[in-house]
């Protein structure tokens, strides 16, 4: 099991520079491991730090004024936290692919699809050779784009949202990376296209044995495709659970997320929501950050600090200190 691990994020803390003096912590104690060939779902509300975690994995925190304060990201024996520009050059694209958040703004609007694919295939960006062109067509076919010869010559504005995202997926897998980071890849797409993209990611994982980190705020959507789900709340990872056992989660927040599914509501019934808002960045309380919204809160929840993220059983982790008490210490 151990040597099957592709990447490990350990106690990651990410700060962002607001002004010269003021720093805000936006990710605090995030930990997760991803195995080779695993499809890992990363879920959380807006502002929970999932996107920042993704950016840490592809090394683009810096341009948003954010940086890793402490912690480590081990990727195949390389610590990405300490990686230099030169190291990143060998990692990005080659070993870690990235599918951007917004399908609509993902592809470069001033480049033809063919040129972008050529860039992804061959980073030097030299004049596309026949070989590059063949590979580009192959990639487009792989992501199930019809008439790839036509699409190669098109600009992004001529494509639909779903097609744009397929192109972005094609770019991400161009060099057969070991890990693909997909940051909410279905935002802004309609439901049927969302399902197609999910299916595509799953088939890519199967075919190339690629690990995929799939970020979403929609538990329902990713639960059906992912192996494991990691839940983030207010900058911390709070639970890791196999997707088959989401109903047996060991953190009240995961349950709350799961229960607020629209499809569970009877027609004209009341939609279950999570009360309150997640604490805003910079105003995190001591103790459990979910305490104010939790139905099971006790005084001890507010005093134990920091929230520990501990392994409960072979494949389940929880940050809830009272999970035994609440869920009867699941087997």
């Amino acid at each position: 099991m151990k040597d099957n691990v592709l990447a490990t994020i350990q106690d990651l803390r990410i700060d962002v520079r607001v002004t010269r003096r003021i720093r805000l912590r936006i990710v605090d104690t995030a930990s997760l491991t991803i195995q080779k060939g695993q499809l890992l779902g990363l879920i959380g509300e807006s502002g929970s730090g999932k996107t920042m975690l993704c950016r840490a994995l592809v090394g683009t925190l810096n341009r948003r004024g954010a940086y890793i304060e402490s912690g480590s990201i081990d990727f195949e024996g390389i610590d990405l936290v300490k990686a230099k520009k030169k190291d990143w050059r060998n990692i990005r694209g080659h070993k870690i692919g990235y599918i951007p958040q917004s399908a609509l703004a993902g592809p470069n609007p001033v480049m033809r699809i063919g040129a972008q694919l050529a860039e992804a295939i061959n980073q030097s960006g030299k004049k596309p050779s026949d070989e590059v062109r063949r590979r580009a067509l192959e990639l487009l076919e792989l992501v199930q784009i019809r008439r790839p010869e036509v699409v190669l010559k098109q600009y992004p504005y001529e494509l639909s949202g779903g097609m744009k995202q397929r192109v972005m997926i094609a770019c991400a897998i161009a060099q057969n990376p070991k890990l693909i980071v997909a940051d909410e890849p279905t935002t802004g797409l309609d439901v049927t296209v969302q399902a197609e993209i999910m299916e595509l990611l799953r088939s890519i994982r199967k075919e190339f044995d690629t690990s995929i980190i799939l970020v979403s705020h929609d538990l329902q959507l990713i639960n059906s495709v992912c192996d494991d789900i990691v839940v983030m709340h207010a900058g911390a990872t709070i639970e890791k659970v196999p997707s088959s056992k989401v109903t047996a989660a060991l953190h009240p927040y995961t349950h709350a997320l799961y229960d607020s599914r629209i499809d569970l509501v009877e027609p004209r019934g009341k939609l279950r929501t999570i009360k309150g808002q997640p604490p805003s960045v910079g105003k995190w309380p001591t103790g459990c950050r979910f305490a104010d919204r939790c139905d099971f809160v006790k005084d001890v929840c507010r005093t134990t600090d920091p929230t520990p993220f501990a392994q409960v059983n072979e494949n389940q982790w929880s940050a809830c200190i009272r999970h035994k008490e609440i869920y009867g210490g699941a087997k």
Binding site: P100, N108, P109, V110, E119, Q123, S124, Y157
Partner: protein
């Protein structure tokens, strides 16, 4: 590039060409009408206060003013379609000749100003925009606001005081044709124009670069690890340039109007000063001709500006 009319692009260009011509037509109508509604009769103005009625009437007939304005317009358009812009009432020279004599000077310093302004604006806009450092952006915006808010004739006068009167770096007025001799007289107007243009152009470019900077596709470009030069062009400049191009083509038209002031201050024998002289002398064929010339240039420049911006960045609506 071979233009086919049955492609979407071809249709768009065709539509825009039609539009450019129809706007040019309206420019003519307005230039023509403006000269008719301004008070004063060119014929009596030419002959002076004590002129006899018959003499005035004869001159009116000679100038084609004895028919109604509508017929005058028809005649004017007819002459125009044959390349005849009319003749000056003062010098008796064809208006076309006056324009071709005075415009090269104006074109020279406008072209130089735009060339330098473009060269300077790009590094400024990209560097400050890409750094997105609040202090830099703020100081830059403050400085350019001051330049934009100051009337250009005032900048010109201060510059003359400083460079021509206090130091002998530029002649106060005068002109001698022919390169490079003319640069002695033109460098100061060019510098002033460039300063004003840079303030406007680089502001727009800066704003676009800041917008581009936060776009998702830039992230993918970084992650893709494209080379520095490719990144600079395809991920920073090219996606940011369209508004700047559109603005510059539009500014080129506006600049023609500004030449009136600048050429008067520097007493340069360009088309702007010619226009002022013609207005003062009620030399309406010249005024009309120059206004139409300016109008058509402006319309077609903005057409080419839009087209170029579209070819650069397909998000531009043509």
């Amino acid at each position: 590039m071979k233009l086919k009319l049955n492609t979407p692009l071809g249709r768009k260009i065709f539509g825009r060409t039609i539009r450019a011509f129809s706007i040019s037509f309206w420019v003519m109508v307005i230039a023509f009408a403006l000269m008719r509604v301004t008070p004063g009769d060119p014929a009596s103005a030419r002959l002076g206060a004590g002129a006899e009625e018959e003499a005035i009437e004869a001159l009116r007939e000679q100038l084609g003013l004895n028919v109604n304005p509508f017929q005058q317009f028809i005649n004017y358009i007819r002459d125009l379609s044959q390349g005849d812009l009319g003749t000056s009432l003062v010098s008796g020279l064809p208006v076309g000749e006056i324009i071709s004599k005075t415009f090269p000077l104006t074109l020279t310093y406008i072209a130089f100003s735009f060339f330098f302004a473009f060269l300077i604006s790009i590094p400024i806009g990209v560097l400050i925009g890409w750094s997105n450092k609040a202090s830099w952006v703020y100081s830059f915006r403050t400085f350019t606001s001051v330049v934009i808010a100051t009337p250009n004739f005032f900048i010109a006068m201060v510059a003359i005081l400083f460079f021509s009167v206090q130091r002998d770096w530029a002649p106060v007025f005068g002109y001698e044709p022919g390169f490079p001799g003319n640069m002695k007289y033109l460098w100061l107007p060019i510098a002033i124009n460039t300063l004003i243009l840079v303030s406007i152009i680089s502001r727009v470019l800066l704003a676009s670069v800041i917008d581009t900077r936060s776009e998702e596709f830039v992230e993918t470009g970084i992650i893709r690890g494209v080379s520095r030069i490719r990144f600079f062009w395809f991920y920073i400049l090219k996606p940011s340039l369209a508004p700047t191009i559109v603005l510059m083509s539009y500014m080129a038209g506006t600049m023609l109007g500004a030449t009136v002031i600048l050429e008067t201050i520097f007493s340069l024998p360009g088309i702007g000063r010619e226009l002022v002289g013609a207005v003062l002398a009620s030399d309406y064929p010249v005024v009309q001709g120059i206004l139409i010339f300016f109008g058509v240039i402006t319309v077609f420049l903005s057409f080419f500006g839009d087209l170029f911006a579209y070819l650069l960045d397909r998000r531009v609506k043509l």
